[in-house]
């Protein structure tokens, strides 16, 4: 079976309806196991206390916030090059999911930052980059909502996604530069991944798997919705024409 079979909307509907329960079930299982493991059965960090348990939400959400944008970028490219409608609709379906993950990463980061650094919000490069990413998601979603015609919207949002990706990377480096420039030698570091011990690592992996699968399940479901919405519009159009 070729991956491009997904490009045919009818085949996509058939395949996704078979795939969706499995992906959703597996995702739920991973999330339940990972989060319960992490919440109830991991020790406290000697430095951060119980707040380390937030890692099981924060890191997977942050990871998927970026990967969701990457997936939208790939889907946009597929739409531009191969003109597969399903691809454009999948990009549209992924955006709100990515935005939600970004917001989760930001909120859990703020809640974690409050006891650790004594402030809800620090203009740390990484936090700031996520804030900018959230703005990009909002612009992308707003663009889809604003354009009436489906193909035009797909084209415009694809161009926006491409240009936005370039500027998102640019912003990331600009923000790094900016913060160092403002407070020299600021010692707020968010590099938790580097000093995570094994006890925290395994449940974290399970949670990451859960978030990846959940993203997949949600995108499949939402793409099915978008395909139906598009077909509904076309059928109503035909009724009007006849």
């Amino acid at each position: 079976m070729s991956f491009w079979e997904f490009a045919n909307p009818k085949r996509f509907m058939q395949l996704s309806s078979r795939l969706l329960p499995w992906v959703a079930g597996l995702s739920l299982a991973c999330l339940v196991v990972g989060l319960i493991w992490g919440f109830f059965f991991t020790p406290e960090d000697y430095r951060q206390g119980s707040t380390v348990k937030i890692i099981y939400l924060h890191v997977p959400a942050a990871l998927m916030a970026i990967n969701a944008w990457l997936m939208m970028l790939v889907a946009s490219l597929v739409w531009i090059i191969r003109r597969h409608h399903v691809s454009a609709l999948a990009a549209r379906a992924a955006a709100p999911v990515g935005l939600t993950f970004t917001v989760i990463a930001l909120i859990t980061g703020a809640i974690w930052g409050q006891p650790m650094w004594g402030t809800w919000w620090a203009w740390d490069p990484r936090l700031t980059s996520f804030l900018i990413l959230a703005l990009f998601y909002m612009g992308y979603i707003a663009m889809w909502e604003a354009v009436e015609n489906g193909d035009t919207a797909a084209d415009l949002t694809s161009v926006l996604c491409l240009v936005g990706s370039v500027f998102a990377i640019l912003s990331r480096y600009a923000v790094l530069f900016w913060n160092q420039g403002l407070h020299q030698g600021a010692s707020l570091s968010l590099d938790k991944e580097e000093n995570v011990a094994d006890v925290f690592y395994l449940p974290l992996l399970v949670c990451i798997a859960g978030f990846v699968l959940m993203f997949l399940a949600l995108v499949l479901l939402r793409t099915r919705t978008e395909i139906r919405a598009r077909r509904l519009k076309a059928l109503l159009n035909r009724e009007r024409m006849a």
Partner: protein
Amino acid sequence: MIALLRRDLVLAVRAGGGFGLGLAFFLVLSVLVPFGVGPEADVLARIAPGILWIGALLSCLLSLDRIFALDFEDGSLDLLATAPVPLEGVSVVKALAHWLTTGLPLTLLAPGLGVLLNLPPAGFGWLVISLAVGTPALSLIGAFGAALTVGLKRGGLLLSLLVLPLYVPTLIFGAQVATQGAAGLDVGTPLVLLAGISAGTLALMPFAAAAALRINLR
């Protein structure tokens, strides 16, 4: 192309072209800031470069939707698309006209407002240089945003939402040049990066804008 530039400049300067509105906005904004943060001279001196950069950026934003929308509404854009000039060229010229009527005057006005905001003497030169180097990028990015939203009703608000995140790197480096210059520090790195952004947007944004225009004209 030169004809197009000339026409756009004439249109902007003639009555109803909106030239001067952005400048007035910049002036009012800068006057309002001390009311918000208090009249202490040292506070104002510290935030002046950043305030002036944000003011310039917002004033630029005000007139962005006019870049293509007016030509779209009266049909000129259709005619330009069938004319023997590439839409990429049209985008560059339109961005240039926008810069000449907003970015350049803003740059020239900024030192005057710097006096109001108690900008340190060392900062005036760098403020003008940073604006002169950075505002072309604002016009070019803005032309892309305007091309994306040209066919939309109430596109102005969406335009702001799309363009503002794209302005982040330009703002960061531009304000950095102005701030460090005012503090008497070395500005080499941010100035090079700012120039890099302007050059990069000049190379790439016209193509993105032309692509968006072609989609919107269909």
